[in-house]
Assembly symmetry: C2
Homo-oligomer: 361 residues x 2
C-alpha cells in the first residue's frame, strides 16, 4: 500500500553536502554553481540514479506549454481532416494536468495563400510547440526557417517534407501503402487482367502523396515479376461527378476498352466517386480498393461496392503528433524522428474496430 524509496533531491543534497537549492540549479543548468560542486552533484545524481518526480515538478513550476496545430479545415474535399482533431483532443485530455494547452489553426486545403496566412497567425500566437500538415512545401520552408530560429519544435503530420528540419514526422509511408493496395488486388484477381489506377486530384498541386502511392502500387507488380497484369493510369482533375463519370465510362465501357478492366485502385479517399459510378452502371465484377473511412466510403464498403479500404488512422496520427510534442517537451524524452503508422486494411468484417477506435485513448 505505501512503499517507496525513490531518491529525491534532498537525498542528493545531503549526500553532496550542499543545499537542495544548489542541486536544483545543476539539474536545470541554471548556472551560479562552482564547477567543482557541479561535477560532484552530477556524479551523485548519476550514482544514485536520481529521476525527478514529474508530478511534484510540474506542480511546483506553474509552467504552461502551449501547442498549436495547423491542418486543413475539414470540408467536402477533405473530410479526412476532421479526424486528427479528435486525436489532438484525446491526447490533450490525457496530459492537460501537466499544464498543456492547445490552439487549433486551419486553412483551405487548396489555397496556398490561406495556408500562408494561417501560418503567420499561428506564429503570432507564440506557441511552444507546433503540429503542421505541410501542404505547400515552399511556404512551409519559409516558416520552418523561423521556427528553427526561435527554437520552436515542429511535428509534421500526415505529409512529410524530407529536406526540412523537424522534431518528428507522423504519418504513413505512401509507397508502402500503394504496395499493400497492389497486393490486395493482385491476390483477388485471376492471373490476367487490366488494372486501372485512378488519381482524382486538385488542379492546384499538392498531390505528391498520390504519386507516391501510384509508384508503390506499380513497384509491387514490377518487383514480383510479370504477373500478367497490365496497369494503366487515369488522372482526373477536379471533383465534378459528371465529369468523373464520363471519364470513367470512356475507359471502362465495353466499347472503349480493349480488354476488360478487372480491378481499380483509387489513390485517395475520393474512391467513393468510382464506387458511385460502378454502382450506377451495375458493374459487379470490378474489384475496387481505395483510401480512408469516410462515411460515403464506408457505405460502399458495406454494400460490396468497395472491396478494401486502406485506413491512415487519422485519429492516431493526431494523437501521436500531439504526444510527440508532449514527450519531447514535457517529459524530455527522445522522440523517434519518423513515426510510420500502420497501414490498416479494412473490410466489412473488421471495420467496426477501426471506426472511432480508442486505440490511443
Amino acid at each position: 500500500m505505501t512503499s517507496d524509496n525513490r531518491v529525491k533531491i534532498a537525498d542528493i543534497a545531503k549526500r553532496a553536502n550542499v543545499s537542495t537549492g544548489t542541486v536544483d540549479r545543476v539539474i536545470h543548468n541554471r548556472g551560479e554553481v562552482a564547477q567543482k560542486t557541479r561535477d560532484k552533484v552530477l556524479a551523485i545524481i548519476k550514482e544514485m540514479d536520481f529521476e525527478p518526480d514529474i508530478l511534484a515538478s510540474t506542480l511546483a513550476s506553474k509552467k504552461t506549454y502551449r501547442f498549436a496545430s495547423l491542418i486543413p479545415a475539414a470540408t467536402n474535399d477533405s473530410l479526412f481532416w476532421h479526424q486528427p482533431v479528435i486525436g489532438f483532443e484525446k491526447a490533450l485530455k490525457q496530459v492537460k494536468h501537466f499544464g498543456v494547452a492547445h490552439q487549433a489553426f486551419s486553412f483551405n486545403y487548396f489555397d496556398k495563400e490561406s495556408f500562408k496566412a494561417a501560418w503567420s497567425e499561428l506564429l503570432e500566437s507564440e506557441p511552444d510547440g507546433i503540429i503542421v500538415a505541410p501542404s505547400f512545401a515552399d511556404v512551409s520552408a519559409d516558416f520552418i526557417a523561423q521556427t528553427e530560429e526561435r527554437g520552436i519544435p515542429v511535428v509534421f503530420i500526415n505529409m512529410n517534407v524530407f529536406n526540412l528540419p523537424k522534431l518528428s514526422f507522423v504519418g504513413q509511408d505512401p509507397l508502402r501503402s500503394g504496395m499493400v493496395a497492389a497486393h490486395l488486388l493482385d491476390f483477388g484477381l485471376k492471373q490476367k487482367g487490366r488494372i486501372l489506377i485512378v488519381n482524382i486530384m486538385s488542379e492546384k498541386g499538392g498531390n505528391i502523396h498520390l504519386m507516391s502511392r501510384e509508384e508503390g502500387f506499380r513497384n509491387y507488380f514490377h518487383g514480383n515479376g510479370f504477373s500478367g497484369k497490365e496497369l494503366f493510369t487515369l488522372n482526373i482533375y477536379g471533383n465534378d461527378p459528371t465529369q468523373i463519370d464520363q471519364m470513367l465510362s470512356e475507359v471502362l465501357s465495353p466499347e472503349g476498352a480493349e480488354e476488360k478492366v478487372a480491378g481499380i485502385f483509387v489513390t485517395n479517399s475520393r474512391v467513393f466517386h468510382v464506387a458511385d459510378y460502378l454502382k450506377k452502371t451495375g458493374e459487379k465484377h470490378i474489384r475496387l480498393v481505395g483510401y480512408d473511412l469516410l462515411e460515403v466510403n464506408v457505405d460502399h464498403l458495406m454494400n460490396h461496392h468497395i472491396d478494401f479500404l486502406i485506413s491512415q488512422n487519422p485519429i492516431g496520427q493526431g494523437f501521436r503528433s500531439f504526444m510527440a510534442l508532449f514527450d519531447s517537451m514535457v517529459l524530455k524524452k527522445n522522440i523517434q524522428k519518423y513515426q510510420y503508422l500502420p497501414i490498416d486494411i479494412i473490410t466489412r468484417e473488421n471495420i467496426d474496430y477501426y471506426i472511432n477506435n480508442l486505440t490511443n485513448e
Copy 2:
C-alpha cells in the same frame, strides 16, 4: 506561459464558508460532515465544476496501487504470451509516477494445476487490481468469487468468460476474426474450391477460442449465400510435426483428396506447421491464412508460404488491460466493459508497422 484559473479546493471552501478540511471530507466521502453542509458543498462543487488536480492529489496521498498480472508463460507452445508483457511494461512506464507498481505471475498454458497455484500465489500478494488470462474457466470462477468478495477489480485479457463479473475484457472478437479470414480466402480464390479449416490444439481443452474462430469462418460463407466453396475441418491434437505432416498429407495429397484444396485457414498461431508442410511438399497454389506474428510465421509470410496473418495486437492487449485498471482505479474513470481490439490484417508489405509497433507507447 503562465495562465490558469482552475478552481481548487480552497475556492470551494471559501464559497461554502467551511474549511478546506471539510471540503476534503465530502469529496472523499469520509463522513464526519453534517448532511446540510455536505449538500451545500456538493452543490458548490458541481456549480463551480471542480475537478481535483490529480498531480497534487497523488503527490499528497502517498497511496500506492499494486497491479498483478496472471498470464501463460511464453513457451514454444505459446510464444504469443511474450508480447502482452511488453504492453504491461509500456503502460507501467507511462503511469508509474502515479504510484503504480506491477507484479507478474505466470502459469503453464496446459496445466490447470499450475494455473490454480499461480492464482493462489497472486491472491496472497494482496494486489489492488488484477489482469488475468482466464484459460480455465472453472478455476477462474472460483477465484473470481474471492476477488469479488474482496472488491478487487479484475480485467480479462485475450480470452473472455462471459458469465463472470469483471471490470473489463480486452481482446479480440474471435467470431469476427474468423469472418475476416474467410473474407480474405474468399476474395483470393476462384469461384469454386474446397477450403480446409485446421485446428491445431491441445488435448487438454481450453480451445473455445478456436471453435469461435471456425464458427465465424463458416458463418461468413453461409451469410454470403452459396459461394461455391466447400468447407471441411481437420482437428489435430498435440503439436508433433511428424504427426501433423501425416494428417495434412492424408487430406491434401492427390490420392487422398477428392477435389483439390484451394485454401487453408489455421485457427491459431500454429499456422507455421502447415506452412512448413506446404513448403516441404513444394505446394504453391494453396492459399494460407493464420494468426499471430510469431517469428516463424513472419518468415513464412515473407517467403510467400503464408498469404495473410491476422494479428491480435498482443502488445496492445497488454497495454490496454493495464490502462483499464489505471483509468478505473487511479483516475476514477468509467471503463468500457468490452474493449475489442482491431483485427489487423498483415501482409508482407505492411508488417513492418505492426511488429514492435509503438501504437500505444
